[in-house]
Amino acid sequence: MKSTRYALAGLGVFLGLLLVVTGGTDRALAHKEKHTPEQLKAFEDVFMEQVKIGDLLFHGDGATEKRLNVTLSKTGMACAMCHPFGSDNHPYEFPKFQEQMNKFATLRDMINWCIEKPNEGVKIDPDSDAMKALETYIYWSNKGSKLDPGRH
């Protein structure tokens, strides 16, 4: 057991050195050092940047929609008008069977359903920057909620 671990660690060191030596620009950014406060701050900044973009989209900011080339609503309604503070989104319940769609759905499916149905907007690419930002804002605004996947 122990020897396997040493062997694996050895392999890791070897691969790491190989990467450093080959110096590939797209090499994996594995970390070997303890994290510095600066690093943690940088990680958080990346996240909060997405929260802010998502907040703008969620509140119907036209400029941000234009920049990301999405049309989230054509009724004048924005997501936040039915979901102030991101309430009643229940991101912590996904994935689950979603009655309106009559299928097993992810949060991204649900976001797109809301864009298309109540908002009469144009569905967005589930892997798009706009989707990631919306998802980030919805999760952030429900931070601390109890994870309860599948709950109706």
């Binding site: 509140h59 936040a80 309106q100």
Partner: protein, 407 residues
Amino acid sequence: MDDHDRLECLREESRAAWWKKIGSSAEMAGLRHEMDKELKQPGEHPDPSLGITRRTFLHKSLLTAGVAAGAATYGWFPLINTLDLAYGAEAFRFAWVSDSHLYPKTVNTRFVDKVTRAFKDVQAMSPPADFLIYGGDLAQLGDPVELDLGADLLKEVKIRKVFIPGEHDWYLDMGAKWTKLFGPSNWTFDHKGVRFVGLDTVSRGPDYWTAKKMTPKERMGHMATLDGSVAGAWAGVGRDQLEWLNRTLAPWPRNKPVVIFTHNPLYEYYPPWNFWVRDWREVHEVVKPFTNVTNVHGHTHQVLYNEVGKMRSIGMLATSWTWPYAPEGVPALTKCKVRVDPGDPFDGVGWSRLTVTAAERVENEYVMWRKDIIAEAPWDSGCADNINQVLSPRIADREWPYYGAYK
């Protein structure tokens, strides 16, 4: 114990849990209790004629759950659909419609369809209503086009109409167009033994626009954002109007019914969304001598019921869209509305029919265009559904000086 009983037990437990969770934050409960004590002197109780009964959905377990939440201290319980109170009045009915949030017709036809349906319902009432109160937020962005559209749609209703403004009607031109169409923003009249008062709770917002050099459109935009705090604690009655209310009620017999129409609720429900009136305590001071006061309000777009002192408040539905219950502060006396279908524009919205019967009772009936309005089981309830939910206020709200100033 059979399966049915077991299921009931389970429901009972989860009900108790969710009432505890949503009933009130400790702080809010404490505040309400304190107000209640202050407003009801020893031995003083609401007029016995205010015995409130639920005509539908009455279930013993709900009553017990109410007691568990520590709010129902008089041994009488909230209406859900129906409010009965007795007084010596002639029979009559009136209707409430509000919060249609009209955009120009070219942008959104759904809101037009929904308020039109409500107006047609009101006009079709038989026997007819004596009057319609339109409770504010006729327009979405205060645009004259929107207000004109609303005034035009209101022509569907031929009976007497009275109006109070909502914040969405007001903050583009500071009420100029609204006042031109609908007259003074506060008023009073007596009708068959009831003193009706319309209060303006929207026009006295703090000046949040001059220093920031906002355009009228920007000013309106901030006011129209429910979960934004730039407009601050804008809902208020104001010193001048409080004095007017005091003068208006002074000659009225203490035990005779008073009905106060406001756009915003006359208690502190959830200030971060402006679900309150900032000087609500002062309003209660003014009505303190009266034993039969009913406040009917809009703005919250949901089923709500509360009692503070000797005043009861009933929250009305919107015709446009419904709002989720706030994460805290839902009055323990409220039986929450059902979770509605977001795919059906006509679900979760509606209007209210209020009747004073020949037996001298007033009934409030929500008209929601669906069978069940109030949830029984937690999984169907707009409140219980949020039992796992913890919310974060928006980042922008944490930076604005008003944040934290709500309390």
